[in-house]
Amino acid sequence: MIFFELAKRNLRLHLFRSILAVLGVIIGVTSITAMGILGAGIVLFISEDLTKVSDTLVVSPHVGGAMGFSTANDRITDRQFEQIKRAAAPSLAVPVYQTSDRMSVGSEETAGIIYGLDPKDMPVFLDIKEGSMLRGSSGAMVGARFAEDNKLKVGSLIGVRDKGTLRVSAILKERGMGFDINPDYGIVVSSKWFQDSYNRKEYDSVIVKVKSLDEIDSTKKTIEKALNRGRETVVDVVDTRKIMETILDSFSRISLFTTAIGGISLVVAGVSILNVMLMSVTERTREIGIMRSIGAKRKEVRRMFLYEALLLGLIGSGIGAVLSVFAGLLVSQVMLQTTRFVFAPSSMIYILYGMAFGVGTCLLSGFYPAWKASDLNPIEALRHE
């Protein structure tokens, strides 16, 4: 109605001032939305890697001592493995050997992680990029990054310190960060070769792949009950889903924090709108006096000023929303080297949040000036020059 028209015309009359106020809202909305999109992108980016291992329990020897030092004897024995296997059934339990060692490729010296797995368990964890799955006891499969860094191909030879030479049977697909095994920067050998070379029978850890995610908690409890009898803690069972949830939770907090930093600019925009609106009220005191004297109620005067704030908010938030898509693309490209998460629903929702915050801040900033205007005494307002 007429008050909306008056609000519109007043903004147009003071076009430059209005543009500056809107600019503040645009910057505020764009920064909180872009930060939100980036945060959501980071969470998606991380969870994409992490979901692969969320069905996993890692059983490792309990690390004793107050300082957390481990001794060479702290490994999982065959008997303990059998107990774990029974407790975890029908889920699959895979024993894992693990060490780090110096290696040589041609004349180049290098180092990396060495995993020892039973060849029949390998397909559970590993996908092959090229070559074929390890069958016999000799030979090795090489992680994607390790192969790339050392220019290894199928058929290349790797020397492991004084333990002998292994022929590369396969290059593995990149696996990303995991809590069970991380073969990207190492090699995978057969458990037989590992036992012979390092003269060990005990395992470093046992990985349990549960059949369904619902069984994670119960399987974890069963294993703990079976092995950690009495007061003595023999093994630690780590639920990777819990770790993942903790990490995602941390990233969500970081994302909230960066969004909040973006929000500061919106607060600044709010203050500038408050300023513009207070100026508007002062300039229009006489007009408010006329309105009140010829029959405009307090709430109608209040509404007129809130319309002004709303208009500034809607225009600023609208433009800010469009710009924030571009800003989101830019920050994602710079920070994550990918823009594929920008248009995910969990990222796009930040556009709505950003707009809502933009409009909300403007209305909040407009409320005091609007109240001030409606509270003017019509007689005094009419005398105002």
């Binding site: 008056l6 009359l13 006329i290 009140r292 004297s293 010829i294 029959g295 109608e300 007689i379």
Partner: protein, 225 residues
């Protein structure tokens, strides 16, 4: 003087404004009536209480003591919203400085009070009748006040005051900012409105203008004489 019912009744009304140096009595124990259909001028020197009287009649202020009735309603008992509705529906204001909204066109200025009353932007044909009633040229309808002459602006203000068909027109020095010829034109217009039944209360310090009224109330130092 018309012998109708009283539109405005002051019964021992005083208006006192608090002031650090002592209370200021702007209106002192005033008792008077204005009948429906009357044309009354209020005269008095500066600071005599004319404006206070006008503000009270216009429902912009309420008495400190005494009883003021407008169309039978005791204004002291009305809420702010009820007083506002009274001003909007029953009283038309005409100011010395026209007091039009600079951002609205002449037509929108005239329609403003009816839009307040009906809550919509389109409220019937009445503005067009008023344009001819106040003798405004057609090409002025869509002009902003700054593009109109003083006389035209006051005609727009009168049309605005009339749009809700009020019982009372309150005029505060309606010709104060106009030259004599234009001022006389405006006074003829007001006189015409009075003949058609509108009650008019006009504040002026110009005796020639006061002559247009049927009755003159003199006020001095807050006392009605």
């Amino acid at each position: 003087m018309n012998g109708g019912t009283p539109l405005i009744e002051f019964e021992r009304v005083s208006k006192v404004y608090p002031h650090p140096a002592g209370n200021v009595v702007a209106l002192d124990n005033a008792t008077l009536s204005i009948m429906t259909g009357e044309f009354v001028a209020i005269m008095g020197p500066s600071g005599s209480g004319k404006s206070t009287l006008l503000n009270l009649i216009g429902g912009l202020d309420v008495p400190s003591t005494g009883v003021l009735r407008i169309e039978g309603a005791d204004v002291s008992t009305l809420t702010d919203d009820q007083l506002t509705e009274l001003r909007r529906d029953r009283i038309g204001f005409i100011f010395q400085q026209f007091n039009l909204f600079p951002l609205l066109t002449a037509r929108e200025n005239i329609e403003f009070p009816i839009m307040l009353a009906c809550g919509k932007r389109e409220c019937g044909q009445r503005p067009h009748q008023l344009f001819s009633a106040v003798d405004l040229p057609e090409d002025s309808y869509e002009r902003r006040p700054s593009e109109l002459s003083g006389g035209q602006q006051q005609r727009v203000a009168i049309a605005r005051a009339l749009i809700n068909d009020p019982a009372l027109l309150l005029c505060d020095e309606p010709t104060g900012n106009l030259d004599t010829k234009t001022g006389n034109g405006i006074m003829e217009l007001l006189l015409g409105m009075n003949r058609r039944g509108k009650t008019i209360v006009m504040v002026t310090h110009d005796p020639k203008i006061a002559e247009f009224a049927e009755r003159t109330i003199h006020i001095r130092d807050g006392r009605v004489e």
